[in-house]
Amino acid sequence: MDFENKRIPDERFDALRPEVLGAWPTGREVDFDEGVAFHHALPEDKRFPVALDRADAERRVLLQPRAGVALLEEHIALLQLLAQEADVLPTTIDAYTRQNRYEEAQKGIDKSRQAGHSLLNGFPAVNHGLGACREIIERVPKPVQVRHGTPDARLLAELTLAAGFTSYEGGGISYNIPYTKKVPLQKSIEDWQYVDRLVGRYEAAGVRINREPFGPLSGTLVPPFMSHAIAIIEGLLALEQGVRSLTLGYGQAGNLMQDVAAIHSLRQLARQWFEAEGYGDYQLSTVFHQWMGGFPENESKAFAVITWGGAVAALAGATKVIVKTPHEASGIPTGEANLQGVMATSQITSMLVDQQASLVALVQPEIERIKREVNTVLRAVKTAGEGDWAKGAVRAFAAGILDVPFAPSVHNKGKLLPVRDNEGAIRLFDFGAVPLDMDTRAFHAAKVKERAIAEGREPCFQMVIDDIYSISKGRLVGRPR
């Protein structure tokens, strides 16, 4: 079959399936019809799309932590603890499973059993199998999403969705470029078309499963227009395969105006492009990720970063916020630290959620700027693909039209270089091969120059490095020391 943005035909999907399920012995446990029946019997308050819909209708921000440990009982206990404060829950998958290294994941499970604590950074769902995943859904009182970073997530999707998970994070671009070194983009997009088609099949069977492209990408000074363009492409690819509940994401940049504008423009642009491409009848929500870069080690300072993220999520009107923890600087948090992050966020979002309206007019210029940038880039991607978004995405990365700063993939140009302006908004220092118009370039250059003058130094790579470490060192803009 040609590589293109076309719904995978049933016979093709059925032909692929035995190989997907055969990649690890637990794949044999998957029974689609039994999974559908289980989903139909799930109470409403365990369904992710329902929670998202209600939150938008009631203008509330859903709180979701990240969490996953190696062993089942500990994992369920962790989620039950977090359910005290969180609205929706995750099952974060370990890094070996994300690379389909199931033997190493098994070693991690065995060593964790010996050590009496988790040596893995997430829950190895494929190794644990369908029964264990089902137990999570049965024993945790709220909707649970699979969160990971897996370029080939087909088997993981088959197992977890059949087990009753109602939301699945990722996408063929957003789980490739920031998460791997060598996987070809065409391969990961094809594998995610399979995942989206699987979700589309559940949809056709009356089971709505939410899909969430990973918004923050490298989490390192990604300009809003670039993550928006990629989120919208992944949304289009998902819609084509029959997905009907989409949550588009964005990672906090740090400047209030830019971040609020980013969430507003993301919703507007997604609706505009989905409609232009002929898709209606879908449910759209947004997710705001609290600061994804380096955190201060000091826990009080970390709480300040966490609550600022919560504040902006509420002011921007995001449907959901992904919550960080006071242990962020040291890696995987304890359950208690994780819960503290959720509590701090809960307090601030509920205080600010009613104050959204007055900000919208103020951020209008920034909204227009982001829209203009996204529209320019998406038109270039469509042209590169001769009208096809899958081909367009692959060719656009090869040409540097799409370019994610600080991503590990060799298929990413890495020529686009961001830097903060004098107010901390993310602007462009080097445009790479991204085809922005002259006015836009002039705007970015002027903003960067303004900062350079204020700091008495030329814009340089050191300025970018200073910006990467600035928040962990107590500031937003990486001023010279």
Partner: protein
Amino acid sequence: MSTHTIVLGVIGADCHAVGNKILEAFFTRAGYRVVNLGVMVSQDEFIDAAIETGAAAILVSSLYGHGEIDCAGLRDRCLERGLDRILLYVGGNLVVGKADLAATREKFLAMGYDRVFPPSVELDEVAVLLRQDLAAKDEGR
């Protein structure tokens, strides 16, 4: 001072790329010949690169918590393959969870690493230690 070659990389299934790119820029500027293997590097890839380039040191990074599993045995593997004098540095968030730094350092020193660094270490500090360690190594030759 001779120009030393150093090998950089992020070990295991870890794809944290940002610090790695910054280390490359920093050590290049500090005058080293830097062989950067990027993210998701296996122990054998580190050793292959060190042998091919005659490197004096391997700087291993691990940010995602699996360091305890991924880093064990690297010293023995180096010895097996004839790298009997190479410096091994390791740094990052090496274990799952917020752990006592001293305990983590002991654990990785016992694995055969010469230096163990937390993620917050100042790179200038690392550069000073690396220069000293390389000088000591050169004298011992």
